[in-house]
């Protein structure tokens, strides 16, 4: 028996190398996304996209977004849909995010692979795969793309666009132009510039194929372009044809500007995919974009960064027979030039100048100023060239493998390719990809707080304080506030970036002022009610230093506001409320407070009013902006929540109509003409500018009321034509306390300072005279500041040579040959060298015969509008009128006050009798001893003053040594050299007794010099037995005694000196009773048109000296009679006014306004409001809670409310959209946003086009298969 052995052939496993390539590509692009920071959320584009994509999708159907964080992003639904799908299947946030990133990268790589295969006409591996990886792993991907992945989508669609273009030009099929449209649809509507830039390669290729390669007829190209263009237009109609132009305008005007964008975009930076300005910036906490730092700093990465461009040049040079390589070379070169933009921004090339010109005059082109987004075009060109070059090099090496000496080239080539791709992708595989803004899971205490807000909210909003451009929490950072993670709590917060028509931004800035600027707040609830807020969320866990916003201690201004109520707190005391290092020491007041606070504190607004409401009663018409509204509220004029209108929005007809409602017109000194920095929430505003004055290219104000000059508060200089300077304060912050006019205000306490943190020799200040002056001398006062100061100056004139001079601390008289000059410019040409780069300048520039007074002129829009209409003027004449002026104070707790007093110019419409009221405090820093005495005790023929007071404390003033009480004393801020001086009616003296104050080691002063108005001074030493100075001398007549400290006890640890009693026979200043009120103050410090106004302090003297704020009134309740015309109020001095109110009340009929009618509101899906009004009896105001926008329309039964005659919609209560409704009865009001109709139509059009597109694609593919 034989056994047959049958060999079964082993199955041959044939691995499809292309399949392997695709799998490897997927693994290489998706897998590494999971390596960096697993479990953490990377702040990307917008938080709601990730935390609440479903909510976001629903809101995508509405073009007007009431939520500030949606204003720019209503139309990104296409991308969000995928994120929503991923989250809907239960994936966690971070996994969803990484899959999204991976899918984007894979899509980009896959598109590049197919593109290279199409272009090369062969299905190889090396060129497509390497090009795909080189395209998706770039510095641009990690430094910008993944941080704004929704904006980045066009980058990954770009190869597909080019692919279908190449195919479409070669094939007459309808499929390709349709796919082109579909690809453009997939790019989404997130940005605009990225989408436009993505069209450059397809358009360029079309031109190339027609005119250079001549492989495509113009007719075929036009046919493709027409069909593709049609599908692009219809598929993207939802964002192309119905954008919110106001928000696009905001972004263009207030976000990054060309000079910033192209600050670093040199050719050498751009060609290696860098050049984006954010890569190079940072703050004291580190670089803004740490992921690209290594590309900038490590030599190896700098070298490898040029590998792709070098490979591209080699390919363009050496790979013959493939002419398209030159197209990609030109595309890359064009992209580099485009990315460079206007670089160097201080002397751009003609191309750069043309760009600037077009940005300035064509809004659509201004949207393309973010030239760094051309990196997609550059990277694709370089990747294709480098990939093809690599493959050709590989082929070349393989062909020569038989030669032994070239055998090593193949592994070297592979290693080089891996090194370049690996270097480009290093942030992923090393796990170094970690944006500055990243967070773990949101803390549990926040989840509890948000749940609480969700439960308690209905018709109200929750206000999150403090605001910041990009808030960062101590536990991590989202892109915005934590509220965006749960948008259903209806959050409201002060984002400084101007949104919409800026009324809401302005209002929120005004709401934030107490805690951002560090000024007191007593009626914050009034403004919160107008905003429809019922809960205020204090975010004590914000990393306020990194966020550049208010600290938890600053937020106490709200917590301690008597108009608000305490509520719930969340978290543990001290949890995330302070930093381990760098914050206030634990034993300081601030440190203790920070450690005792809980991370989330919720305050309640008593008696809140719904965001959507009806109001009635006599309205308050404010001339000014929301800061004026805040001032009016602080005066108690809004306690009853009356409707508030801005006079800047009224026309004559409406003013006339208001007459029946007995309004109160309030003219404020707000809406100041000033330049702003809208990236900061504090120290962001210049000094008040003169009419027409601008500061560099910074935006002026909030642009309210159409920027009409009469609606603005402006500065007027009296005595000179103008004062200007090369700069002032710091370049990083606004410090109006150092403005140029401060050098000409006859006040040594104030200064013009410039160049903080900089070394800018050549800075100058100039005053232009009203007419040429004969000038022969100038006195410059260099302030005694800590750190460096001016050492030498150059005086420049309109005629004659400049004069150079050395200066020193204090007063410097500079004389020169007399000359007639139209201006004087003082240029700093030398400063002392110090380690501390403090600003330098002058506290005073005195020119003989020149006196400068700065006035602030309040808005005149009310009278300008009413003038010419007897009815409107009649309303003004018959109505109550008030003027509310606030001293411009500091903009952050550590900054200085812009104004030391109140100097206002205002206009009165007709003769009026006005009551005077105000609030003030003792200016203990600036007031001299005798000024304080005069303030609290009235004029006296005995005046005591001194060189200084310890810590400027009023009770340490000179008169404390003359009150006969050894328990009180004059205490100076220094020791040797300090003096006390007493002036009195002349008398004969022959001895004095001086009792020094006790120091910690005994009597402080050891030796003194006593001088008189007559005769030689006397030097005396302390009598150790009595512990006093008994100074005896021959009788002499004198009206002044001055005691100067010569020596103090060396053992004393503190450098102070003091005199408890200065006994001058017959000269005493009896102490004042602390509980008494000061007498009427009547001098030039408070004056109207130069005439003193008697002012009564309504507080006990002890409160005045204790530094408390107090009320002011006119002495004997007298009123001021002012005639028609312009008036000037001046208030200042030791009694520093904070606010002043002048008020003229008109009697109104004793009729009680009927309450507003009840209303019910329904929200439509498209943002519309349907309001049912029940039993209206009189005109009322309907407030919608939305920010005002002129496109809103309201109608009753098809009839528009508030026709043209009264201007349609109104800005009510500071920022809200509303209407004055004068129809009685019960009826229905429909409120619709005008552009919503066209937006809905375009959404429908895009949806129909999408369906058609998909049908065509399916049919075409089916046909091709059959």
């Amino acid at each position: 028996m034989s056994v047959m052995t049958v060999e079964v052939p082993r199955p041959v496993v044939r691995v499809n190398p292309r399949l392997v390539m695709w799998v490897a590509l997927a693994v290489a692009t998706i897998g590494p996304m999971f390596i960096p920071a697993p479990g953490r959320y990377f702040a990307d584009t917008q938080d709601t996209l990730w935390f609440a994509p479903g909510w976001h999708l629903r809101h995508s159907l509405t073009i007007f977004q009431p939520d500030v964080f949606l204003l720019e992003w209503p139309t990104v639904g296409v991308s969000v849909a995928l994120i929503w799908l991923l989250k809907s299947i239960g994936l966690s946030l971070w996994v969803t995010q990484r899959i999204w990133y991976g899918l984007l990268a894979f899509a980009g790589a896959a598109g590049t692979v197919l593109l290279v295969q199409e272009l090369r006409g062969r299905r190889t591996l090396i060129a497509p795969a390497s090009a795909g990886l080189l395209y998706v792993f770039t510095p641009f991907t990690f430094g910008y793309g993944l941080l704004y992945s929704i904006v980045f989508v066009p980058y990954f669609v770009l190869p597909w666009l080019l692919l279908v273009t190449v195919r479409g030009l070669r094939s007459p099929s309808l499929l390709w132009p349709v796919l082109f449209g579909l690809s453009s649809f997939l790019m989404g509507a997130s940005n605009g510039a990225a989408q436009i830039y993505a069209l450059i390669p397809p358009i360029g290729y079309g031109l190339w194929a027609v005119f250079v390669e001549r492989t495509v007829s113009p007719r075929a190209a036009l046919r493709f372009a027409a069909i593709a263009g049609g599908f692009v237009a219809t598929l993207n109609a939802y964002w192309l044809f119905a954008p919110r132009l106001v928000d696009i305008g905001n972004v263009i005007q207030y976000s990054e500007q060309p000079k910033t964008i192209n600050q670093v975009s040199s050719y050498s930076e751009s060609i290696r995919g860098l050049g984006h300005w954010q890569y190079y910036g940072g703050d004291k906490f580190g670089p803004w974009v740490p992921m690209v730092r290594r590309y900038l700093t490590a030599p190896a990465f700098v070298l490898l960064g040029f590998a792709m461009p070098v490979a591209a040049i080699l390919t363009a040079w050496l790979v013959r027979g493939w002419r398209t390589r030159l197209f990609f070379f030109f595309l890359a070169a064009g992209a580099v030039v485009g990315m460079a933009g206007i670089f160097p921004s201080d002397s751009p090339a003609p191309f750069g100048r043309l760009l600037l010109l077009s940005y300035r005059h064509v809004t659509a082109l201004a949207g393309l100023r973010t030239t760094y987004k051309l990196a997609g075009v550059l990277n694709l060109s370089l990747a294709v060239l480098a990939g093809v070059g690599l493959e050709e090099a590989w082929r070349w090496v393989v062909v020569r493998r038989r030669r032994a000496w070239t055998a090593f080239r193949q592994p070297m080539l592979a290693a080089a390719a891996v090194a370049v791709i690996g270097a480009n992708a290093f942030p992923l595989w090393t796990g170094e990809y970690r944006p500055v803004r990243t967070s773990p899971a949101i803390p549990e205490y926040w989840r509890s707080a948000l749940r609480y807000l969700q439960q308690s909210n209905g018709e109200y909003l929750s206000f999150f304080a403090p605001g910041a451009l990009q808030p960062m929490y101590r536990w991590g950072s989202l892109l915005g506030t934590v509220a965006e993670a749960e948008p259903t709590v209806h959050p409201l917060y002060a984002w400084p970036f101007p949104e919409g028509n800026h009324y809401r931004t302005n209002m929120l800035a005004a709401v934030e002022r107490p805690y951002q600027a560090g000024v007191s707040s007593t009626r914050a609830a009034v403004l919160f009610r107008y905003l429809g807020v019922d809960r205020i969320v204090l975010q004590n866990d914000i990393d306020w230093q990194r966020s550049n916003t208010a600290s938890p201690v600053d937020l106490l201004a709200l917590a301690l506001d008597p108009s608000l109520q305490g509520g719930l707190s969340f978290g543990q005391p001290g949890q995330n409320t302070f930093a381990a290092t760098g914050d206030a020491p634990p034993d300081s007041d601030a440190g203790r407070i920070e450690r005792s606070l809980r991370p989330v504190q919720i305050l309640a607004v008593p008696n809140p009013v719904s965001a959507i409401r009806a109001e009635s009663g006599p309205p308050v018409v404010v001339s000014g902006d929301a800061f004026g509204l805040s001032a009016v509220a602080e005066q108690g004029l809004l306690d009853s929540n009356p409707p508030v209108l801005y006079s800047g929005t009224l026309n004559q007809a409406l003013i006339a109509t208001l007459g029946k409602e007995h309004p109160l017109f309030v003219i404020t000194d707000s809406n100041r003409r000033a330049a702003h920095r809208f990236n900061l929430v504090r120290d962001n505003t210049t000094y008040t500018l003169a009419p027409g004055e601008v500061v560099e290219d910074r935006p002026i104000g909030w642009g309210l009321f159409g920027d009409r000059p009469e609606t603005q508060t402006t500065a007027i200089l009296e005595g000179v034509k103008g004062i200007s300077a090369s700069g002032y304060g710091s370049v990083f912050l606004d410090q109006p306390q150092y403005r140029p006019a401060r050098a000409f205000d006859d006040d040594d306490r104030t200064s013009w300072l410039v160049g903080g943190l900089e070394h800018r020799l050549g800075d100058w200040i100039q005053t232009t005279f009203e007419r040429p002056l004969d000038l022969a001398s100038v006195r410059l006062t260099v302030p005694a500041v800590f750190g460096r100061m001016v050492r030498s100056v150059q005086l420049e004139f309109s005629t004659g040579p400049p004069v150079r001079a050395q200066v020193h601390r204090g007063s410097n008289e500079i004389t020169f040959q007399t000359r007639a000059t139209a201006f004087l410019r003082v240029r700093i040409v030398g400063v002392t060298t110090q380690a501390f780069d403090n600003p330098v300048g002058f506290s005073e520039i005195s020119i003989p015969g020149l006196h400068v007074q700065e006035w602030v002129r309040v808005p005149s829009d009310l009278l300008r509008t009413a003038t010419g209409s007897p009815l409107a003027m009649g309303t003004v004449h018959s109505s109550s009128l008030a003027y509310v002026f606030e001293r411009a104070r500091k903009q952050s707790p550590l900054s200085g006050d812009q104004e030391l007093g109140i100097a206002r110019q205002f206009e009165v419409p007709e003769s009026r009798s006005l009551t005077f009221a105000g609030s003030a405090h003792l200016d203990s820093t600036g007031a001299s001893d005798d000024e304080i005495d005069r303030l609290i005790a009235g004029p006296s023929d005995i005046q005591a003053t001194s060189s200084s007071r310890l810590s400027d404390i009023p009770s340490f003033r000179a008169s404390a040594a003359l009150d006969g009480d050894p328990e009180t004393a004059w205490i100076s801020a220094g020791d040797a050299g300090e003096w006390i001086r007493v002036r009195f009616p002349a008398r004969s003296l022959n001895h004095l007794v001086i009792l020094p104050a006790m120091g910690s080691q005994g009597r402080r002063i050891q030796r003194i010099e006593v001088s008189f108005s007559e005769g030689e001074p006397i030097i005396a030493s302390i009598d150790d037995r009595t512990g006093s100075f008994d100074v005896r001398f021959p009788p002499r007549g004198t009206s002044e005694v001055q005691v100067r400290v010569l020596d103090t006890a060396p053992s004393e640890p503190f450098k102070t000196a003091g005199i408890a009693e200065l006994q001058i026979p017959g000269v005493t200043l009896p102490p004042v009773a602390g509980e008494d009120e000061p007498p009427c103050l009547r001098d030039q410090t408070f004056s109207m048109d130069g005439v003193p106004v008697g002012v009564q302090i309504e507080a006990p003297i002890s409160d005045v000296l204790g530094g408390k704020s107090f009320s002011l009134s006119a002495c004997e309740s007298a009123s001021l009679s002012l005639g028609k015309g312009v008036h000037r109020l001046l208030a200042g001095g030791a009694l520093q006014p904070d606010s002043i109110r002048l008020m003229s009340l008109r009697e109104s009929p004793e009729q009680v306004s009927p309450p507003p009618p009840p209303i019910s509101v329904r929200h439509g899906n498209d943002g519309a409001l349907e309001v049912d009004v029940f039993g209206a009896r009189a005109p009322f105001y309907l407030v919608t809670g939305n920010e005002w926008s002129p496109e809103w329309r309201a109608s009753t039964d098809g009839n528009p409310i508030g026709g043209r005659s009264i201007g349609g919609s109104l800005v009510l209560d500071g920022s809200s959209l509303g209407w004055r409704v004068d129809r009685a009865g019960s009826y229905h009001i429909s409120i619709r946003y005008g552009p919503q109709g066209s937006y809905s139509s375009t959404i429908l059009l895009s949806a129909e086009a999408l369906i058609l597109t998909l049908v065509i694609v399916v049919v075409q593919i089916a046909r091709r298969r059959t």
Binding site: R120, G121, R170, S266, L296, F306, I313, R400
Partner: protein, 128 residues
């Protein structure tokens, strides 16, 4: 000559005085009638020198590069501008010649004789 003048004008337009200077340099070189590959070589050398220039002009030592990084590396900027200008001119010269026979077919040619199909080619297929 007309193309060169236009090219120099374009260089001036896009790069200002720098472009004009590079254009003058090109004019000078062009007057020597070098072969096209010399422009490519020049472009390559300039581009290869650019990273070296960046390093020579100083890499940031602190955590941030600073907003003056671009203007403080002028040599690298000039080198890349020169490289693009040279390469662009070389590309224009190539385009002005008649396309090679293989160009029309979009096929890649390896310039050495004895070419064989590459082992990296799979499922080689023409354009769809």
């Amino acid at each position: 000559v007309r193309r060169l003048v236009l090219y120099i004008a374009a260089l001036w337009f896009f790069s200002g005085p720098l472009g004009l200077a590079i254009g003058m340099g090109l004019l000078l070189i062009w007057s020597l009638r070098p072969p096209t590959w010399a422009y490519w070589l020049g472009a390559l050398l300039c581009l290869t020198a650019a990273p070296l220039a960046i390093m020579a002009e100083g890499l940031p030592s602190g955590p941030t590069a600073g907003p003056n990084f671009g203007t403080s590396h002028p040599v690298a900027h000039v080198l890349v501008a020169s490289s693009l200008a040279f390469a662009g001119f070389a590309a224009i010269l190539e385009l002005s010649k008649k396309p090679a026979a293989g160009d029309a077919a979009q096929a890649t040619q390896v310039s050495e004789p004895g070419d064989q199909p590459s082992p990296t080619d799979h499922d080689a297929a023409g354009p769809a």
